[in-house]
């Protein structure tokens, strides 16, 4: 009945998926750049973050326009309000990746203190959570959204493990303190990214039920 409006609302949600995939790519590439000491890629990630930021503003504008011109109600209104919140989290996850890229540049060609195993696992887990969060968003899937919030515990556990290992390395050899601290920052960026994905899941629950609830109370 309101074909153009429905199309616009659908396009808006598609745009969120596009932004989420940009963010996912940014996370994976930031870890790749760190692992391979690829400074060129790290610089590229920093430059590409602007595209993520611009995407966020584009979608936000579309939301404002839909509210102003179409007066969306009920579930439509909840979708738009949820998206406005999700954009903030997605954009910040992009910033976390950018942060990892900046750390990569700081690390430069310093010798590695340990092989990177758990950090890539954290990144993979975060990306999986993000993909699933988008599935839950499109499918209005409350059960999946809540499961993703539970999965955040895995990222927290990996974070703890990385932190512990790096503490031991630093205690054994204080010369590693600077390099190890940088890796802790990387782990922290990934841990925060996963937390923000749980925020997105809370918005999915809001779309589906109309209720706002704190489901993913992270340990960190």
């Amino acid at each position: 009945m309101r074909k153009n409006y429905e199309r616009a609302l659908k396009a808006l949600q598609d745009e969120v998926l596009v932004m989420a995939s940009m963010v996912e790519k940014s996370i994976m590439r930031s870890i790749e750049a760190l692992k391979n000491r690829d400074l060129e890629l790290a610089r590229q990630i920093i430059a590409d973050d602007e595209a993520i930021n611009n995407k966020r503003f584009d979608i936000e504008e579309q939301c404002v326009e839909l509210i102003a011109t179409q007066q969306p109600m009920a579930v439509d209104l909840r979708i738009i309000i949820a998206i406005l919140n999700m954009l903030v989290d997605l954009e910040r996850i992009g910033d976390h990746s950018e942060g990892i890229a900046k750390i990569t540049i700081m690390v430069g060609d310093e010798p590695p203190i340990k092989p990177l195993i758990d950090l890539p696992r954290m990144a993979e887990k975060a990306c999986q959570m993000l993909r699933e969060a988008m599935d839950a968003f499109i499918g209005r899937d409350v059960a999946l959204a809540k499961k993703i919030c539970d999965d955040d515990e895995e990222v927290d556990a990996l974070y703890e493990q990385v932190f512990r290992e790096l503490l031991i390395i630093m205690a054994e050899n204080p010369k590693t303190i600077k390099r190890a601290t940088r890796l802790i920052w990387v782990a922290h960026n990934l841990e925060r990214s996963a937390d923000r994905i749980t925020n997105i899941c809370e918005r999915v629950v809001f779309i589906a039920t109309g209720h706002m609830e704190d489901i993913g109370a992270s340990k960190y």
């Binding site: 409006y5 109600m73 009920a74 209104l77 909840r78 209720h211």
Partner: protein, 276 residues
């Protein structure tokens, strides 16, 4: 406030139910028929004191019929028949012995099209009070001023009270009609699409006025404009025609809930514009 004494004139033994202190209007399993046509089916709801309740729904779903049940305006349609209970302050308004004129004084009504009488602005406002026996010029002056102030029209017409009520703009005419209702000191004001013939600015003025009036009056408004219902009301009732073409109450609740998270799928579809 005991309306038993005022609107029940012939039947002092009429059973008075004690409604909760803040329930002014109540319907219980109300059915309305126009001849064979079942217009309103099984409606039950309570309307609280000093609140604004919006009745929304597609055309022909019985919104106006439902509204008119509260002050028995349907009586004017010869084939109309009512079943169930319609209460005002705990009194069944359809029971024998109700003084309908008194009921309509206390449950006033504003209509879709502004309908000032073809007389001066002043006489429009004091028409009701005069009918109810007030003759004192000073008392009438006071009523006219107070009512026009309450209707947010005083400043615009105070210098031309002797001009025809038909000479002012549509929005002003509607506020004049509201002033005319207020002049008889009602407790409830029923509004049947009061803004549908008005431009957006006049509409916003009326909406603002409704908000102000709701501090002292109970208002029930029928509106086709969902944004208006969302903007102005505390409670919203959504009506829809059922399979048998009778108007049914689909959902009734807080306006903030109905427009953000309605419980019923039909309400959701209607207010998001997916049907109706």
């Amino acid at each position: 406030m005991n309306i038993q004494n005022s609107i029940v004139v012939n039947n002092p033994s009429a059973d008075v139910r004690s409604a909760g202190s803040d329930v002014r209007l109540r319907m219980e399993k109300v059915n309305l028929y126009y001849g064979d046509f079942h217009a309103v089916k099984d409606i039950s709801l309570d309307i609280g004191d000093r609140s604004i309740t919006a009745i929304i729904g597609p055309s022909g779903c019985g919104k106006s019929s439902m509204l008119r049940l509260f002050n028995r305006m349907n009586d004017l349609i010869p084939s109309a028949r009512v079943e169930g209970l319609v209460e005002f302050d705990g009194v069944d308004v359809y029971q024998a012995g109700i003084d309908v004129v008194e009921l309509r004084k206390r449950v006033g009504m504003v209509f879709q099209k502004p309908n000032p009488f073809p007389m001066s602005i002043y006489d429009n406002v004091c028409f009701g009070p005069k009918r109810h026996g007030i003759r004192n010029k000073r008392a009438l002056d006071e009523i006219v001023e107070k009512s026009l102030i309450q209707a947010a029209l005083w400043d615009e017409v105070k210098d031309k009270l002797d001009q025809s009520g038909l000479s002012i703009s549509g929005g002003q005419q509607q506020r004049l009609c509201i002033a005319r209702v207020l002049a008889v000191e009602p407790e409830v004001i029923l509004m049947d699409e009061p803004c549908s013939a008005l431009d957006p600015i006049a509409t916003l003025k009326i909406e603002d006025l409704m908000r102000t009036l709701s501090a002292n009056y109970t208002i029930v408004i029928v509106t086709h404009n969902m944004q208006q219902a969302a903007r102005v009301s505390d409670m919203t009732a959504f009506l829809m025609v059922g399979e048998d073409r009778a108007g049914m109450l689909v959902e009734y609740g807080l306006t903030s809930e109905i427009f953000t998270n309605p419980k019923n799928r039909k309400t959701e579809d209607y207010i998001t514009g997916r049907f109706g």
